[in-house]
């Protein structure tokens, strides 16, 4: 929401600046694990569509390559009154096609490893454990429910240039609680919102696509629930990928997700990662309810 206030400044700069492609030598880093693990929960289905992509980073100008992990397991359950996870269910993951880096519940396991959507309830905690190249990673998240969209229509306004596409989204916020939302507009375009300014109201807003869309294109827009942490994470990703042309840039920072390295945490001498800040995986593990709507561009 707050980000919406920025275009005023950016628009002006776009009118009077010019851009060109330049060559820049970039620093390099050792490959790092990337976990793309957003589980979108459609309550009308029986099972959660579990698909987690594992990749490794490379130089900025090159593609990330899929990687294989030694093991990947999801554990989930409702914490007890002390916040302890006493009874957990497990889902063991296996690579879908060899070399794809895409992990799904292991079909060859002795029992059914799929996760039922009925298990995804407010308060349920999901834990992802991965072993990759001898290092152990861990991520913890809470299931985030959400509300369906009331309406999705195409608008005919434009913001900065004539061939932009406007998408008008309407939904009703749940009253009396702080809610966070993540919208997936497709094409890698996301928006993170919180309900500070429309608590419990029906809210309508316009989104202008960065990508040029053609009449006949089919677009799918999703509303997803989010924890505060996941909302902050998506917000940071959006901020870091927005090319806002210069002087109003915010300071960069690596968007750190919730997948962290636990290999050296022995809970005897090392309790946390404060002294080894360089050890972490990129990406995020989240479990969120999703509602979709699809529209054909006029």
């Amino acid at each position: 929401m707050r980000k919406i206030l920025y275009p005023a400044v950016l628009g002006f700069l776009m009118l009077c600046s010019c851009e060109d492609v330049v060559n820049v030598d970039l620093p390099n880093e050792e490959p790092r694990l990337i976990v793309d693990g957003l589980l979108r929960v459609d309550k009308s289905q029986e099972y959660v569509n579990v698909e987690i992509t594992m990749k490794e980073t490379s130089n900025f100008f090159e593609e990330n390559q899929p990687t294989q992990v030694e093991s990947a397991v999801i554990a989930y359950g409702m914490p007890d009154e002390f916040g302890e996870l006493t009874s957990l269910a497990f889902s063991s993951l296996a690579e879908r096609e060899p070399g794809s880096g895409v992990y799904i519940p292991d079909p060859n396991f002795s029992s059914d490893q799929r996760i039922r959507t009925a298990a995804a309830e407010p308060g349920v905690v999901f834990i992802l454990q991965i072993t990759h190249k001898g290092r152990d990673y861990f991520a913890r998240t809470e299931y985030a429910p959400t509300v369906p969209m009331d309406d999705l229509v195409q608008g005919d306004n434009t913001l900065f240039d004539e061939d932009e596409t406007e998408m008008i989204v309407t939904f009703t916020d749940t009253p009396d609680q702080n809610d966070y939302y993540v919208f997936d507009f497709g094409f890698g375009e996301f928006l993170a919102l919180d309900d500070q300014f429309f608590q419990g109201q029906q809210f309508q807003f316009s989104y202008f696509y960065q990508k040029k869309l053609q009449p006949g294109d089919e677009v799918t827009v999703s509303i997803l629930g989010a924890t505060q942490d996941f909302h902050n994470y998506v917000d940071l990703l959006v901020e870091q990928t927005q090319n806002n042309g210069g002087v109003f840039e915010t300071p960069i920072s690596t968007a750190r997700g919730n997948v962290f390295d636990v290999t050296d945490l022995d809970n005897i001498d090392v309790f946390d990662n404060v002294e080894q800040p360089e050890l972490f995986a990129l990406g995020y593990f989240a479990v969120a309810q999703e509602f979709e709507r699809t529209l054909t561009i006029q």
């Binding site: 600046s17 820049v24 620093p27 300014f197 940071l236 968007a255 919730n258 990406g283």
Partner: protein, 802 residues
Amino acid sequence: MSKRHFISSLLLIFPFIVLQAQQKYTLSGTVSEANSNETLIGVTIAFPSLKTGVTTNEYGFYSITLPEGEYNIVVSYLGFQDVRETITLNKDIKKDFNLLEKAEELEEVVVTDDAERLDIRKPQMSVNTLAAQTIKQIPVVLGEADVIKSLLLLPGVTNAGEASSGFNVRGGAVDQNLILLDEAVVFNSSHLFGFFSVFNPDAIKDVKLFKGGIPSRYGGRVSSVLEIFQKEGNSKEFKVNGGIGAVASRLLLEGPIEKERTAFLVGGRASYAHLFLPLFNVDDKAYFYDLNTKINHKINDRNSIFLSGYFGRDLFSINDSFINTYGNAVGNFRWNHLFSDKLFSNLSLIYSDYFYGLELDFVGFDWDSGIQNFNVKYDLKHYINDKLQLNYGLNNIYYVFNPGKIRPNSPDSGIVEEQLTKKYANENAIYVDVEHKISESLSVEYGLRASQFNRFGQDQFFVYENNNPVLFDPFTLVYKEAVPIDTINPGRGGTLKKFFNLEPRVSVSYNFNGQSSIKASYTRLAQYLHLLSNTSSPTPLDVWTPSGPFVEPQLLNQYAAGYFMNIKGGRYTFETEAFFKDIENRIDYIDGADLIANNAIEQVILNGEARAYGIEFLLRKNEGRLKGWLAYTLSRSEQRTPGRDLSAFGIDTGRSDLETGINFGEWYSTPYDKTHDLAVYGSYDLDDRWDLNANFIYQTGQPTNYPVGQFEFQGITVPYYGLRNKERLPDYHRLDVSATLTPRNNKGRRWQSEWVFSIYNVYARKNAASINFRENEDTGRNEAIRTSIFGIIPAVTYNFKF
């Protein structure tokens, strides 16, 4: 305890006040321009036989007390003919001087630029003065003379590049500059996001920038003081001047209401660049205007009053889907009163207001935010004798901060009207400042400012567990906002937190034969307001926030030392200064912090520290057909925000290093860290028609970040980075030239005119404002994109006066 300390230091000063020898008389008065009666600031009244003298203050007043005798005096000022007189001082004398401008055709040839020339004997250091005349000659983009762009040619002053607001002094942030327009605080100094500054050069009389050694009469910002005085208005005859430029036009009217007693000044300026925008895009608008007004009335020899106002607005809209308005409004009333020929006083009552408004049609809301303040100031200047001058006074500012109000703009908008919690505070200070000439060689200026800041209660105040508003996850190493455990209403009457600071200031100068001197200074300053901005240059929508329970005041120590020299009898001057400063409590923001419309800013900020050090050189040529200067600065500016010690919040972790801080707690370059900064300015008087000006700027590229890699998450391709600000943009450099044509037929007629032709960025360097990385939509490959703001820009301006 600290108060008693303050009083005892006050007492220390009194031994000097005790009147010394007998048979002394006072010469005092006002120095004005002969044709307009405009008082002149910084005019030197020199007594060559005693090697002493005095300069006029901000209101043109001077006073000096000397032993009985007959003296030759010389009154001199930039661009004016010297007045030489012999005075028999056998009683107190009141004497006003009227200076005549040097004749037009002579002016450019033999300007003796005293105001800009450094004063060898005075302890005051780290100060630069720019005459309105110089500001108008410096070539600038689109031909609009500009106060702040001119400052950038001085040593130790930079900015974040084209189209960035404000300026950075000695590695300080933009919000650490105290900008005073006729003694009123101006919160935003830029129009059109930094393309122009808010000061109309026609209405300005004097500009002074204190970079260090800041006298104790100033306070509230830790980096610099930019003091600007507007003209008072011509009290002898009606005058008009103006200019027509490529983006903006100016018109200024001034004249007497009652001759020699009451005068007015009205100046306006407006841009019309938006008229050309339809060429790019039909419905967009971007323009600004500002209005300067002033009335002064001389009640009698001892009393004068001034009423002045400034009003400026920027308006920017796109497709009417959003409309953005912002600007300053300043009104003030001042009363000069002479208690005696040795005691000058000024009372100022000032109201100033900064407004930012936004209408966003496509999200369905209106937004406005701002800051208002009411300022009462009383300053006295006590001219005890030719060795001792005492300045003292007090100041009280009451602030109202409106972080933002959001309103639905139509009945079907889902936005709920909300006023973010307004904040209230009061800042007051008393100060005393002594200018003391101990011997012919040694002068000292020392003073003390005692400041107090009272953050008042507000309607809504969040309470946090352990009083800790920012949480840290020691596993993922991510900071996030704490959720308040309670909301209280402390009421506006009470105090949330109070701060008290003693700010001593000392400057010493030792001169050798009046031709060279060494100077040193120490400055301590407290700043209670913070601009919430985490962009590399502030945006107009950034809001200010007061110190309080979660935000400590910024505290500065600055040490400076320098060597100053006149060469060839003052035809050239050379100065060099080294400085070191450290600032406690410089706030920094957690990653991804949203600062706009944030009702709980304490949840996203951490207290850090900043430091800067460097050395400056300035060589000026003051006389002849070719005048100008060369300024070079070598410096570094850094900040860091280490992890907090959680035991301060009563959380016992058994360890003190349970947080990583920002950037893992390591020092990093501020966005305004420029290792090398070189500026050359020259003005050449070709003949009686043509005047040529040029400036060249070279700066180390601004610190920036290049990604070490990229990753994908749900189809978003995100670059990721190593430690902050390790890389640099390519070096910045550019050459600008201008030529001023004064038509021959100006001579002897009332209508005076000139043409200014200018070319900005002559060799069309594409200076990078930023380098961004993004995926090429066609090839799908990542590219580095350089954004540059201006190519080569020619402009023509026509100026006139009658």
